[in-house]
Symmetry: C2
Subunit: 81 residues, 2 copies
């Protein structure tokens, strides 16, 4: 059994209101470390056995069609150790 | 400049309706690789210079108070290469 992780973030040129809200809330709570914050999504997909090359290609396709919107988002597909 | 990544996922025993919805949508689109899907959040926090130990401790505290709800969620703090 393997876990495939798909990380989806808004492209840098797209406004990220959630990230801005978090970035504004941090100093109010006394945390001053952040210069900027971006918020994205993370999917953990459980796959039977070791993922094959065909499965990985399928997951890439699913990421581009269902998990992320490639017009405004970037995504990364990783196999979790 | 460093990017600190905070990954927030619902605890395994907590129902994840978003993940269930994605897991149900995949086979409808012809993707049959997934045994189960969990959805979580991902924060990219930009920090000036190299993060110090005190800053990392602060980010851990911020993750536990603002970014994640430790009652139902787990979080991981990482420095992105």
């Amino acid at each position: 059994m393997a876990i495939i992780v798909v990380e989806v973030m808004l492209k840098p040129e797209i406004l990220d209101p959630q990230g801005v809200a978090v970035g504004a809330a941090l100093p109010r709570l006394g945390f001053t470390f952040a210069k900027s914050v971006r918020q994205g999504k993370r999917f953990e997909i459980e796959v039977e056995g070791t993922p094959t090359a065909a499965q990985m290609a399928d997951i890439e396709k699913a990421a581009a069609t269902l998990l992320a919107n490639p017009v405004i988002e970037t995504y990364v597909v990783k196999v979790q150790a």
